[in-house]
Subunit: 357 residues, 3 copies
Amino acid sequence: MSKISTKINVGNFFEDFSIGQKIIHPLPRTITEGEVSLYIAFTGSRFALHSSDELAQEIGYNERPIDDILMFHLTFGKSVQDISLNAIANLGYAEISFPNPVFIGDTVRMESTVIGLKENSNGKSGVVYVHSIGYNEQDKEVLNFKRWVMVHKKDKETMIGINEVPTFAESTPIVEDINIPEIDMVDTNATGGEYFFEDYEVGERLNHPEGITIDDSDHTLATKLYQNNAKVHFNDHMMKSTPMGERLMYGGIVISIARAISFNGLQNAQWVYAINSGAHCNPTYAGDTIYAYTEVLDVIDHSRDDLGLLRLRTVAIKNQKSDEIESPKGEDGKYLKNVVLDLDYTVIVPKKKTKKQ
Amino acid sequence: MSKISTKINVGNFFEDFSIGQKIIHPLPRTITEGEVSLYIAFTGSRFALHSSDELAQEIGYNERPIDDILMFHLTFGKSVQDISLNAIANLGYAEISFPNPVFIGDTVRMESTVIGLKENSNGKSGVVYVHSIGYNEQDKEVLNFKRWVMVHKKDKETMIGINEVPTFAESTPIVEDINIPEIDMVDTNATGGEYFFEDYEVGERLNHPEGITIDDSDHTLATKLYQNNAKVHFNDHMMKSTPMGERLMYGGIVISIARAISFNGLQNAQWVYAINSGAHCNPTYAGDTIYAYTEVLDVIDHSRDDLGLLRLRTVAIKNQKSDEIESPKGEDGKYLKNVVLDLDYTVIVPKKKTKKQ
Amino acid sequence: MSKISTKINVGNFFEDFSIGQKIIHPLPRTITEGEVSLYIAFTGSRFALHSSDELAQEIGYNERPIDDILMFHLTFGKSVQDISLNAIANLGYAEISFPNPVFIGDTVRMESTVIGLKENSNGKSGVVYVHSIGYNEQDKEVLNFKRWVMVHKKDKETMIGINEVPTFAESTPIVEDINIPEIDMVDTNATGGEYFFEDYEVGERLNHPEGITIDDSDHTLATKLYQNNAKVHFNDHMMKSTPMGERLMYGGIVISIARAISFNGLQNAQWVYAINSGAHCNPTYAGDTIYAYTEVLDVIDHSRDDLGLLRLRTVAIKNQKSDEIESPKGEDGKYLKNVVLDLDYTVIVPKKKTKKQ
């Protein structure tokens, strides 16, 4: 007779979290050339800094750094089994920053601290707020963000009454000491873009013309690569008995595709400095084609004379061209049904003086 | 006028094999970071030893070793064109062992010796038994197994009458000198699992909750990566005119997915010591979702005080949750139609004394 | 109010090109182990020189070189956004050569010169002829070819009247100084093929038995990896409103699959010396199964005593076995509807004296 084991990790429920609790997420990950190649295969990304050691060296690096969004996925994925395995919804992100670059061969890991808990009034679930920090093997911070998810309660009958909600900065603060090397030289023939920081203005809207269709294997291979084990992305058998009827795409896939599409017009914006906030407005499924447009929300000068920052809003739309919608929300203030991502983020763009003559 | 070439390799038929015959399989393969990344993308595997150089070094390695099952596929794939290109069925495996670890940059190759031949009574086919050994570039054994396949005869009219069947050990013998470094320290925060050798008991059953759906590109990309060229896995045009009606998934894919799913509950069982036997009970096709449960068949102590071994039986099921079946076989002694793998194997688990305090 | 940006690169139209114009294609690319592994996963390629450092060293290299066709795709992909983003059709290639080998870690880039322009008589489009050269990071030529594409005009009303058409060599010239190391030794047990240069004869036809089915994710992942951003390959939403009705496969995918299939019978032809010309006779879509046969057009001796060259014609067919068609063209001189590639190319094959005894 077999005995059912209790060694199975069923993830954390609302009652398993407490304010101040520190969670060390398992699975440190050594990032390799394999991840870098696969990321290009998944997204078609063409930001040159991440494609060429020669170009990275000309800019001022010893070697090309890992794409910030790829690093985010690889690091973030580790937190799923502790934070959001029983999540009803990923509600939001705030203050995402990338304090230090990551290179091929680095090993990243992540830790989280619970900073807020709010029981829902129906007593069946609650919202967990965490502050998560990713580190490299030298214990340098490589990722820092806050996140909140709605999680099931174990005991849906008893109210706990906790309601501690943290506040977040409206955007990720910009520090004086930006950790990228002094930019020696930007060869626009190599990056593919002729525009520099000074060329962009507030209110400018870039209708990126490309559309990229995502299939089942594309998104499941990527999400498995990130060791993100949220069941909704992988288990078609289970999803068939839900209202969705099929596997839901990991929202990070849409962020990656939208960022890759934004290359056309933002070729020299090769660094994501921060993600201020983001909403996955509607679900994305295999077969959907992603389009995107970008608005320049702010043009932010910096004391460094080689670079400035652009605060951008990139909106991703499924199965509709980017120039066919004016605003992501309708007159009722709700997101249009084809809008799948509303991302507020900040990129670094070199100034004109860095242009290779 | 063109002349039809006779240079095409059509594979070996039953008559092409003889007892004692030695076959050097072509295509030595240098294993790279690319294979390691792709394997994680194919399976979502989270065994930390294969994900992190830092963690491998803490355990006692210089660098992370290649996942045993990945190494099996990459090495095994080479034998297909010589042994099983004309196979009617892959009948069984025995005494699979992994004598030495393989690392990124190693080059593996394989040789086989024919150890048995049994003509079927209908005269149309026969069973070929081989003993296959994989080596690294220093000629150290990295894989050792026995395998038998049913192969077509060229001349289906003439009986040969050969009937030499080898015997196999019921399980792969366990040696004194296990070739993994003395385990310095297991950080359960990093491996994601708190259970050690002493925690498992005979008869314990782990119902792994995850299910992973496999699509066409997933399994064909993996099987091509392994340079396994069995036609049934790749040629949809050909398969449409067979009773199967579509491409059959390489059985090794199911082994890999089942092993990846078994992580939940067996996080510290990071080494496959041996595969004692395995049956691919039913075919698997694209779109199937794989679930798995594991039973502890035996708890095997070892003279080394840092580790012990567990003999496990992992059963993979398609499109049915692992806790919904009690036994893989029905009352008639036959495998249930949803059961796709019955794997008897032995893993190494560190003892409690290795736990990082 | 947002202001529509003019920073979007919409690609070049016929009027944007001028004879003698030099175009530096952006996106230098460092080639990694990831690309090499993915290429094997995409194609199942088994040419041993590209799979094993040990074998490459035995032949005379320091390490295994990159597969010539993979290098072609990675380098060629960069020219799409400048040359063929607005292409109506890729009309042809000529004089493709691979002057120097490329290795893992090399960074490749490409430049083109416009060598011909021919306006079409309808005034709506024209043909652009370019001479493109790929370089490694030491500015050595690694790829050299000519190509012509039909491109839309911006102003379809006004005739320009240009008609400068270059001439091309009927086949890529063969130089005295072939840039591969003196071949020390070919181990036929490792390459999987027993035939050498002297074994092939003009008129010989190899009916390769394998068929490989390509799915959506296979071809889109590969094309994105090559950073080839031609919209017809990625955007299913757009393609649904065209007569094709779905994404068109990048023709290079078919070349790669046909080359991989040609392994059976040409195992020692591990180097593509040149592509003389090629036609993508019919479109290929996801779900198609590719078969191929090869005819030996010419047997070309060389002053080097370790190697010779074979001029080959490989014909790829979709959803029909390679031995089921006699000629790729029907009695009307047009390609049969299942023929998808007619490739005239030259490979290097070692002579018998190099065989390992």
